[in-house]
């Protein structure tokens, strides 16, 4: 009997604890002078590095917008960022979105990792809070929502993305490969695709292979070699690539695997024209360059890149370098920075800041061309909610510096391909 009684006591205690929990997220809606935006990224956990870059990029953009007078058409209302951390766990994409929405945010931005982003997207639809995906490449996130709106299961699409999708990354990479080979007057035949078998790597590799199949170019993907990410050793994988007698090795790496892959390629003395990758985020970071040095020289990779022909970009990049402790203004910081400006543009044009559907109407008609990233045109959203003009740029490490080399209009320098013989 005692036990039973105690059982209930515990229950009561537990409930009391729960009530305290219920109490803590006090809604702070009493300040009308700001427009709150929930900005959620993985700032701890496995993806902490890009997540922190995103958060800083978004914060800098908001600071810049506020310094310039806020949202002018709405009485100069300032942007206030309510930040959240997914810890690289999808469930926190939802929890954090729920939290910031309860703190009065009327728009969401995030969240780098596709799992968390999809959880946020479902919440955005459910709670009718417009979401701008600053980074996350998995195609289904927007496509699924668009489909359910089209099929009438939902009325309005609240989820839009200003970032290349996996398939558009692939299409662009294949296109750049073709153009560069042609421009260089080289005709590699055998390409070995090597990729990290994680969400990012597989998404990129799939897009690349599908685009290759569709384009049917003169070169062939003779072998595709995925490795578990993060790897502890890649020497056998490289030996396998070597055995396939490649003209070009096309790697898709994460920073951790890049640290293994590139030295190993050099070590194994593979005779080929060069390394041209469909995507290696972070390769251009000072830390990677310092750790890899000559192993990176002449490596070409296709990544979303800032438009450094724009003087404003250089100024922001310089400020970013200072505030981040020496980091490059890159894909992550750059797209989060632009994302915030796209949001500001939407808010300027929105009929009302109170009505989510009014914000969505403004989103749909976005035509924004003041972004700092390299785009293929203004930021617009297609029927899926994606920006078809969000494209990657081919960069190359030349004299230990990352330089945009393709497409031509973005190039700051001419690429070197095939690479000179050592």
């Amino acid at each position: 009997m005692t036990k039973h009684r105690l059982t209930r006591r515990t229950f009561l205690k537990a409930t009391a604890a729960g009530a305290t929990v219920a109490g803590f997220p006090l809604p702070l809606r009493a300040q009308p002078k700001t427009f709150k935006i929930g900005v959620i990224h993985p700032v701890t956990g496995a993806l902490a590095e890009p997540g922190q870059a995103c958060r800083l990029g978004a914060q800098m953009a908001a600071d810049a917008i506020n310094a310039a007078g806020g949202i002018k058409s709405k009485g100069g209302i300032k942007l206030e960022l309510i930040v959240g951390d997914t810890q690289t766990k999808p469930e926190n994409g939802r929890v954090e979105a729920e939290r910031v929405v309860n703190r009065g945010t009327r728009m969401l931005m995030g969240s780098f990792d596709s799992g968390s982003t999809n959880a946020m997207a479902s919440l955005a639809q459910q709670r009718r809070v417009p979401l701008l995906i600053d980074i996350a490449a998995a195609d289904p996130i927007t496509a699924n929502v668009a489909k359910s709106v089209k099929e009438g299961q939902q009325k309005v699409q609240y989820v839009y993305r200003n970032f290349p999708t996996g398939s558009s990354f692939g299409r662009k990479a294949v296109q750049y490969f073709n153009e560069i080979f042609k421009e260089a007057n080289a005709s590699p035949k055998r390409v070995v695709l090597m990729y990290c078998n994680d969400l990012f790597g597989q998404n990129q590799a799939r897009g690349f292979q599908a685009a290759h199949k569709a384009a049917n170019p003169s070169w062939e993907i003779v072998e595709a070699i995925p490795w578990p990410e993060p790897p502890s050793d890649l020497s056998t994988e490289i030996s396998k690539a070597k055995a396939a007698k490649p003209d070009v090795i096309a790697p898709i790496t994460r920073p951790a695997s890049a640290l293994l892959l590139f030295p190993e390629i050099r070590k194994q003395r593979i005779e080929m024209m060069g390394i041209v990758g469909p995507g290696s985020p972070g390769l251009y970071e000072a830390g990677q360059l310092a750790a890899l040095k000559e192993d990176l020289e002449y490596v070409l990779t296709s990544v979303p890149w800032a438009n450094f022909k724009n003087p404003q970009t250089n100024a922001v990049a310089e400020e970013y370098r200072k505030r981040s402790g020496g980091k490059t203004f890159d894909t992550n910081s750059g797209y989060s920075y632009d994302g915030m400006f796209v949001i500001a543009d939407i808010l300027e044009r929105a009929g009302s800041l109170e009505d989510p559907d009014a914000i969505v109407d403004a989103m749909k008609t976005t035509n924004f061309s003041a972004g700092l990233m390299q785009y293929g045109g203004p930021v617009v959203f297609n029927e899926l909610g994606d920006n078809p003009n969000a494209i990657p740029t081919m960069i190359q490490i030349l004299s230990q510096k990352p330089v945009a080399v393709w497409p031509k209009e973005a190039a700051l320098q001419k690429f070197v391909f095939p690479r000179p013989k050592a």
Binding site: T2, K3, H4, R5, L6, T7, R8, R9, T10, F11, L12, K13, A14, T15, A17, G18, T20, V21, A22, F24, P25, P27, V43, T44, A48, Q52, V83, D85, P90, E91, G93, R94, V95, E98, R99, V101, N102, S114, G115, N118, A121, S122, Q125, Q126, R127, A138, P140, V145, S148, Q153, Q154, G166, N197, D198, L199, G201, Q202, N203, P226, P228
Partner: protein, 596 residues
């Protein structure tokens, strides 16, 4: 006091009406992890088999339901049971391998981790399952598709999941199943000796646990709308599943829930208050420190501590036994069955043949021939003494007879059944019970609970077994100590308990291994009387004993073992005067003392 539980439930049911959606979300997580923790608790807590790969069951359940929904249009409400069934199948496979091959403790931990990792790697490489990119579920808000526009629906589903897992755990806990699991956790060999089929019950626990966990997979998938192998099969999720019940108190009914009510909000709070500044990671440091603190200051978990604190405050004014005077069930059930035990000592077959016959029994350990070609017979109703110098192989004989060891050669028949190859629990159920030389009580159970484990062999109803156990406890003279934790008993009491536990299985033949060793003469006398009484009630007894006076006094016949061989057999008088025995074992001193 039932109202307290009802009140708690009422509060939980009405909370969503007053909470904002973020608080609702936190409760959803509390319930969901409470649910997963409770599911884990069945095998990890009650049965004490530490699985650190429970994420695999979440993954299998979630992927199955999601694939069935995406590819075949099957409603997740149905798919979740298909997924849970597959998770249970995986649990059965892992459990069978682990338990059959006797993997305990850390080895079982690693086996489960390895299986979960294999699942993760496999799914990461299967394109049809989306590979590492995973599966994406479209939000439609269609309730048939397990989707809701109102977050509070998820709240009630998660609450229902947690309550159903808790109800399952409760039902298990108070039945033979749960009592057996606790016995297995405390001491598997001792449980086997009391007729517990440890493999079967551990398997059952694993299957129930993995089934429930598999249900959780569907909730996870359809609440978060995407599935990736790294999150659904990964080690971090497995860790999330186990820390809450451990913090709350593994193997207790409310531990997993309490653990979730403590840790889930704390994780949120620390992220909220420490995760915003520039020090990324500070909140996880705080969380880690908290876990360390729990281990250092609440080493059995939060719930047992809480229970003790409440108990103290409740019972302080009442000077009396530290345990309740008895549940109503007990009082009502004791009367009709008491007295039953003595009148019917086991289900005795008609006296025709020898009760137990062992022929040519041999066992070798490396270079040591422990038992060599031993022939042994115990007649119905007999009290046979088995003596011999240290290392003569007496306990090995017991282990061979009771199934703990398999003989290299020879056969054993008991009531005309061949015993060789049967597991200990089956032999116990045939009516052959044993005690252990080094007593093996279930230390964290009370005396009564210990004996009840034995009684359950004949009386599968927990209440009836409890009543039987009460009789036995009285009979072995521990009535006043019935509610004391076995770990705190004196040696003499433990010996009685050991005897009582074996007796509670209502054996035809009782194997007593040195029940008097280590006791002083005043303690030995009552034990001798007790053994006589048991024998008089019709139980045949085979006893190993070093106390010569006792053996001589008790035994009708004695077998002498030396270096694994039988060197003499006969009445106590014969043995006392047998020259070989005198020479090999008893020595001059005894011969001189014997006539006295």
């Amino acid at each position: 006091m039932r109202w307290a539980g009802v009140a708690a439930l009422a509060v939980l049911l009405t909370l969503p009406a007053v909470l904002n959606s973020y608080a609702v979300t936190i409760f959803i997580l509390i319930f969901f992890y409470g649910f997963l923790g409770q599911a884990w608790n069945i095998v990890g807590g009650y049965a004490g088999q530490l699985s650190a790969g429970h994420a695999a069951f979440v993954g299998v359940g979630g992927y199955t339901a999601a694939m069935l929904s995406i590819e075949a249009g099957l409603m997740p409400w149905v798919g979740m049971f298909v997924g849970a069934a597959l998770a249970a199948l995986l649990g059965a496979i892992i459990g069978y391998l682990g338990f059959r091959f006797g993997l305990r403790g850390f080895y079982f931990v690693l086996l489960t981790v390895a299986f979960a990792e294999i699942c993760r790697i496999a799914v990461s490489n299967i394109d049809a399952l989306g590979g590492p990119l995973g599966l994406y579920i479209t939000f439609t808000g269609d309730p048939r598709q397990f989707q809701f526009r109102d977050g509070r629906v998820y709240y009630y589903i998660a609450l229902a999941l947690m309550l159903s897992a808790t109800a399952t755990a409760w039902a298990i806990e108070r039945r033979r199943f749960g009592i057996y699991l606790a016995a297995i956790r405390e001491d598997e060999a001792a449980a086997e000796a009391l007729g517990v089929n440890a493999l079967k019950y551990k398997m059952l626990a694993m299957v129930v646990s993995s089934f429930l966990t598999g249900l959780g997979g569907t909730f996870y998938a359809f609440y978060l709308f995407s599935l990736q192998p790294n999150t659904l099969f990964g080690i971090p999720l497995s860790v999330e599943i186990i820390i809450r019940p451990i913090v709350g108190g593994a193997g207790t009914l409310l531990g997993p829930i309490l653990g979730s009510f403590i840790l889930t909000p704390l994780a949120e709070l620390s992220r909220l208050y420490l995760g915003q500044g520039g020090l990324h990671g500070a909140h996880l440091i705080a969380y880690g420190v908290l876990l360390i603190g729990v281990v250092l200051f609440l080493p059995e978990g939060a719930y047992p501590r809480l229970r003790r604190v409440l108990q103290r405050s409740r019972l302080a004014p009442v000077s009396g036994p530290s345990h309740p005077k008895g549940c109503p069930q007990e009082r009502s059930r004791v009367a009709p069955v008491s007295g039953h035990l003595r009148s019917e000592p086991g289900s005795r077959p008609p006296l025709q043949k020898t009760l137990l016959v062992a022929r040519g029994l041999s066992k070798r350990f490396g270079g040591l021939q422990a038992v060599a070609g031993l022939d042994l017979a115990v007649e119905h109703g007999e009290m046979l003494g088995l003596i011999g110098p240290n290392g003569a192989g007496k306990t090995t004989v017991f282990n061979l007879l009771s199934g703990f060891l398999t003989p290299d050669a020879g056969e054993v028949s008991f009531r005309d059944r061949a015993l060789v190859g049967l597991p200990p629990h089956a032999i116990c159920r045939l009516g052959l019970a044993r005690t252990f030389q080094l007593v093996r009580p279930f230390p964290r159970m009370s005396v009564l609970e210990n004996v009840r484990v034995g009684a359950l062999a004949r009386h599968p109803q927990a209440l009836e077994a409890r009543a039987r156990a009460r009789d036995v406890v009285e009979r072995v003279g521990l009535g006043a100590r019935a509610h004391v934790t076995a770990g705190t008993l004196t040696l003499a009491e433990r010996k009685r308990l050991e005897l009582g536990r074996a007796l509670a299985t209502e054996p035809t033949l009782l194997l007593l291994d040195e029940v008097m060793a280590g006791l002083n003469p005043t303690e030995i006398e009552p034990i001798i009387r007790l053994i006589r009484g048991i024998h008089a009630s019709g139980v045949s007894i085979l006893l190993i004993e070093h106390n010569m006076r006792a053996v001589m006094a008790l035994s009708q016949r004695i077998v002498v073992l030396s270096f694994g061989e039988k060197i003499a057999e006969g009445t106590p008088a014969d043995i006392a005067n047998h020259p070989k025995v005198v020479e090999a074992y008893l020595g001059d001193e005894y011969v001189r003392a014997a006539p006295a």
